[in-house]
Amino acid sequence: MGRTLVREIIAAHSNQAAAEGEICRVKVDFAFANDITGAPAAESFREMGAKKVFDRERCAFLPDHFTPNKDIASAEQTKAGREFALEQGMLYWEVGRVGIEHAFLPEKGYILPGDIVTGADSHTCTGGALGALSTGVGSTDLAAVWALGETWMKVPPTIRVNFTGERPGWVTGKDMILSLIGRIGVQGARYMALEFGGEAVESLPMDDRFTIANMAVEAGAKTGLFVPDEKVLAYAGERAAREFTPLYPEKGASYFKTETFDLEKMTPVAAMPHSPDNVKPVRECGAPVIDQVFIGACTNGRLRDIETAAKVMEGKKVAAGVRCIVIPASYEVYNAAMDKGYLKIFTEAGAVVCTPTCGPCLGGHMGILAAGERCVSTSNRNFVGRMGSPGSELILASPMTAAASAVTGRLTDPRDVMPEDFFTKLED
């Protein structure tokens, strides 16, 4: 029985065999918290009697959820995290130089192939796009990692997901991961790892891979990993903040099961209220009328997302009565989008462009929904009350679907507002 990628990584970080189900003590390469989870982690760290984080270059605090601070309570909370970071001399970036943690850390080369990464945020699994075992933990678990440089992990079974066929331009990473969650359900991978591969992955842009890895947790998974290929190694190689050793699944690795998707048959899909597994082709959703569109979040706030949405919106207007909020996930994305003229396309269309933050994704600020309002969002969760009132509704979709919907004022398949050759040209 060959080892899956997740087993290879756990074995390389412990001196145990990493048999499935075994609890292993693993060394952690990088550990971070945000403005919500950082302060309680700092408190637990002190309670543990710890004095110094295990390695100042491998521990980070990133304010991104309620920042720029939305009110006094969030300001106090961010301040507590920042003071801890400064006292420890660990990695810390101020508003204006940071971004949503799961976009920013890979960009800066802090999450690398073969790593074990723990973050006090459930979407830490996003780092799996780089072939890292990157997983979310709570604040106390994170504090323990800051103190010890290690944690315990149960070796999960792996579901292998293969994408085959040639990907049409209207199929994005978001459509791929929503299709998977729609098929296996929100607990289809509970206590497991997802491992993504297949011939169609080769040409899949990194930004789409981040989107796919990001939503592994919406299927209940511990993490979702891509097997490192040339694209991954090139991305990590030019950004790496330290040395890294990519790892690979063994030939004949044994999987809990395999799910295969033929991308030629895939269409743009949406997750309807109130669960990420309530997935249907966009054209079969009945074109519900919407009040808001949100393009951003750690799921879809990267350059490729902003670019494809902008290209759909170019020369058009946001429908009357609809608010469209665009939030690039980091300053690297923000500045590149500005240079390429994408931000101008949005503002000329009547959309709002905000500074990088989680913002409305978790119902924090900058676009909260009232009761009875409906929003098409590129984020990852459409639970009851996620973006505001428990009486509001959220539909999850790709940036292109979101942009098309902003223009028509209804949930809309991007193929219904763009000609077919638009999608073929997108590919280069």
């Binding site: 609890i23 919500i36 989870t37 302060a39 309680p40 408190e43 637990s44 309670e47 543990m48 009697g49 710890a50 959820h65 309620f66 009110d71 309570a73 969030s74 106090e76 909370q77 973050g119 006090a120 945020d121 459930s122 830490t124 979310g136 933990v137 709570g138 604040s139 106390t140 678990d141 504090a143 323990a144 103190a147 010890l148 315990w152 149960k154 929100v186 607990q187 509970r190 206590y191 209940g220 511990k222 669960s275 978790l362 119902g363 924090g364 969760r381 639970f383 009851v384 009350g385 996620r386 428990p390």
Partner: protein, 171 residues
């Protein structure tokens, strides 16, 4: 884990996510009592008012799915619940509950049979959940040995203290 829990059951469905256990708008505090005042508000706005101390939450599959917020088990504790019984727990919630000292019991049969209002007794040492109202007893599978040690030793905070002390000695 020798304490026995006795209380009334409050039943919820599958996939109770952390956003309904404690919505993000309250995540500007990590104080147990403050969070507890809003526990479950988006799914049952009177939940906190209705429950008595030591009552328990009983739920279906995948309880605690969603975010990594430790505020979720803290809110349940802060609301006064003694423990949670579910058919299954989401991974991060499971770890967090252990770390913040919220007792959790995975038992699909009990989760299925118990209804709101039933009088329940959980005996962790014996590994039993008794439904006094319906006269049923269910077995709970024990935690893995590593977790038993972790819980038995007082949780993660004292565990790390001990580890740091050992490292101090060997340094």
């Amino acid at each position: 884990m020798s304490k026995v829990f006795k209380g009334k059951a409050w039943k919820f469905g599958d996939h109770i996510d952390t956003d309904v256990i404690i919505p993000a708008r309250y995540l500007v505090s990590s104080d147990e009592k403050t969070l507890g005042a809003h526990c479950m508000v988006d799914i049952d706005k009177d939940f906190v008012k209705k429950i008595s101390p030591a009552d328990m939450i009983v739920a279906g599959e995948n309880f605690g799915c969603g975010s990594s917020r430790e505020h979720a088990p803290l809110a349940i504790k802060g609301a006064g619940c003694s423990c949670v019984i579910a058919a299954s727990f989401a991974r991060i919630f499971y770890r967090n509950a252990i770390n913040v000292g919220l007792p959790i019991f995975e038992c699909p049969e009990a989760a299925e049979a118990i209804e709101t209002g039933d009088e329940i007794t959980v005996d962790p040492a014996a590994g039993t959940i008794e439904n006094k109202t319906k006269g049923q007893v269910f077995k709970v599978a024990p935690f893995a040995p590593f977790l038993q040690d972790l819980i038995g030793g007082g949780g993660l905070v004292p565990y790390v203290r001990r580890q740091l002390a050992e490292r101090g000695k060997s340094a």
